[in-house]
């Protein structure tokens, strides 16, 4: 590092300060209190793992269910995002940029707006039911579309798709065209080119996309609340109850950090898998 660059290190200071104050500090605070306990609605310092034990004991079903859904969403969305980004980068030619722009516009639509869009599409008086009724296929509106885990998967997939496309597209952009041709020339089928040349070069982008989806889906509590119905008991809903209804910030924190922990473990495992499967041979 040259002195000129080192002396500019202070430029990062405002950013670092904000980051430490609004992100790291609160996170540390919640991490610390996750080992405390609540007595008569007051937080008491402690150093026990009781909250974590209780989380695993009382909420394991919900945790497993949450991560099944989150994992499903992350896999579906990452796959779709790769296909979309691949088409935009390599196949769409001059339509690539407009397509990408559409993705960015999709990011502007608010979170709640999207939830209500899906409510409108899937609901009893919704688009699908009206269409089916008009066509005379059903007499009674079908009710199994909404208020179930599948509706949650659809809604959250729709929401996280643009978030997953961007990191993958970013990774694909730095891949050059000519080596793909070279691979074809050396005998690779179109599929082999993707497998051997494209995927190994965008592993990080794929992992980032997967992580974003997983973390978002695992921590969300609004979608399950509004669309998931009574039997979709995802952990986010329960954490929110701990902080709100039960007023037990210690327990809530322990549950939240359990979710973060599981996320990290899943990301690590999926990352290892991606880096092994798409390794250079």
């Amino acid at each position: 590092m040259t002195p000129a660059i080192r002396s500019r290190g202070w430029l990062a200071l405002p950013y670092l300060t904000v980051y430490l104050l609004v992100f790291v500090a609160p996170l540390l605070y919640f991490f610390v209190i996750s080992f405390w306990r609540v007595r008569l609605f007051r937080l008491m310092p402690d150093a026990s793992l009781a909250n974590y034990a209780k989380t695993l004991e009382a909420h394991s079903v919900s945790l497993i269910f949450t991560f099944e859904i989150a994992f499903t969403i992350a896999v579906i969305v990452t796959t779709l995002a790769f296909v979309f980004a691949y088409v935009v980068r390599f196949k769409a030619g001059r339509y690539g940029t407009p397509l990408l722009f559409v993705v960015l516009i999709a990011l502007f639509g608010g979170y709640l707006t999207k939830i209500y869009v899906w409510k409108t599409i899937l609901g009893q008086a919704g688009v699908i039911n009206s269409a089916l009724g008009l066509l005379g296929i059903v007499n009674e509106p079908i009710t199994f579309l909404l208020y179930n885990p599948v509706a949650v998967v659809i809604t959250l997939s729709h929401y996280t798709l643009p978030l997953a496309i961007l990191p993958i597209y970013g990774a694909l952009r730095s891949i050059e065209d000519m080596p793909l041709r070279a691979a074809r020339d050396l005998g690779a089928s179109r599929f082999r080119v993707v497998w051997d040349v494209v995927l190994p070069q965008c592993r990080v982008g794929i992992l980032i996309a997967f992580s974003l989806c997983l973390i978002f889906a695992a921590g969300d509590f609004v979608t399950p609340l509004l669309i998931g119905g009574p039997y979709t008991s995802m952990i986010g809903k329960l954490i929110q109850l701990q902080f709100g209804f039960h007023g037990d910030a210690a327990m809530g924190s322990a549950m939240a950090f359990t979710v973060i922990g599981i996320c990290l473990v899943v990301i690590f495992m999926v990352g290892t898998l991606i880096f092994t499967v798409f390794r250079v041979r």
């Binding site: 050059e176 000519m178 080596p179 041709r181 070279a182 691979a183 074809r184 020339d185 050396l186 005998g187 690779a188 089928s189 082999r192 051997d196 040349v197 190994p200 070069q201 250079v280 041979r281």
Partner: protein, 353 residues
């Protein structure tokens, strides 16, 4: 010569309104080292891409070793390419790059190792096998690209301006390398270049292209000594082009000399290579039969080591003449009158309309 290995028959390609390659017919024989030579944008890469299978021709037929490959994809053609800019796999090591084609074909590991070893020796890359291709020099990358294609033992090796990105010194040594490799493996090479020296130095046959047309094809000597058009003569080496007019079997040059030449009446261009000309002072002495003489004034004289370069002004033109180096005393001095002389057998008279 027998049956050609590659046969291009009326092959053409247009991109919208732009015709990149007009219907073109060319035979390439086994063991040939063919240079496709032409200025930028004349369709060289398009032609090579049609051979490789990346571009499907609009019309015509491509045969390799008797098989019609016009509609066969690049992955199933017996051709391999060294790309403009190399197109190495940036996420692989030197070894992985070279081995890639064989790995695709599921060769046993032992055979892959053997053949990679052979290639590494052939292109002198020993010791670099484990390096990332992003961490080797341009010349070394060039060798990797060559090895990666050659390891497939293609019927035809295609090279798209393989040396263009290298500096002059490296380019010269890589030219020698290419010649050595071509001789040692005895393959058929087709390479594209816009550098006529490279084409002359490497190829045993040259195909000159212009605006999507194949203008002339032949051995380097043929193309150099008997260019079919003015474009070819200018493109291949230095040439003096002297405009003139032919009337009933006699050409009168604008610069003021005349000689007999068969052909139809009309404007002509007479092409003479600078080294085919010599300078003398005739002082009114008669010229020998079969020679052409033109009077001019020396405007520049440069000693180039192995030869002298003179620029002689003649009416309406400036002529370049190369002569063997001479002692300081018998050089032609600046602004002196001289006679430029050449043999009629060394000139080419081309109809220009």
């Amino acid at each position: 010569m027998g049956h050609p290995l590659v046969r291009l028959d009326g092959v053409s390609k247009a991109y919208g309104k732009i015709v990149a390659v007009h219907p073109l017919t060319l035979d390439i024989f086994r063991g040939d080292f063919v240079a496709v030579l032409g200025p930028s944008g004349c369709g060289k890469t398009t032609l090579l891409n049609m051979l490789a299978g990346f571009v499907l021709p609009d019309s015509g037929r491509i045969e390799i070793d008797g098989r019609d490959v016009s509609h066969v994809g690049p992955d199933r053609r017996p051709t391999n390419m060294v790309f403009q800019g190399y197109a190495l796999f940036p996420h692989m090591t030197v070894r992985q790059n070279i081995a890639y084609g064989l790995r695709i074909r599921n060769y046993p590991k032992q055979e892959i190792d053997e053949r990679v070893g052979e290639m590494v020796d052939l292109v002198h890359l020993g010791g670099l096998e484990r390096r990332a291709v992003t961490e080797i020099s341009g010349g070394q990358q060039q060798r990797v690209a060559l090895a990666r294609a050659l390891i497939m033992r293609p019927d035809v090796l295609l090279l798209d301006e393989p040396l263009a990105a290298l500096d002059l010194k490296l380019r010269n040594s890589m030219q020698q390398e290419l010649r050595r490799i071509h001789q040692s493996i005895g393959g058929t090479f087709v390479f594209v270049t816009h550098d006529q020296n490279e084409a002359m130095g490497l190829a045993n046959r040259i195909a000159v292209m212009r605006d999507g047309l194949l203008v002339q094809e032949g051995s380097p000597e043929e193309i150099y000594s008997t260019p079919r058009t003015q474009f070819v003569s200018n493109f291949i080496g230095e040439a003096n082009v002297l405009p003139g007019r032919r009337t009933s079997g006699v050409v009168v040059l604008d610069a003021g000399t005349a000689f007999p030449s068969k052909g139809s009446d009309g404007t002509v261009a007479t092409v003479v290579r600078p080294e085919a000309m010599s300078l003398t002072k005739l002082d009114g002495a008669p010229i020998e039969d079969g020679k052409v003489v033109m009077q001019g004034t020396v405007r520049d004289a440069v000693f180039l080591g192995s030869r002298m370069k003179y620029v002689v002004e003649v009416p309406g033109n400036a002529i370049t003449v190369y002569t063997p180096p001479s002692g300081r005393s018998d050089r032609f001095a600046m602004d002196n009158k001289v006679d430029v002389v050449w043999n009629m057998v060394d000139q080419r008279v081309l109809d220009t309309e």
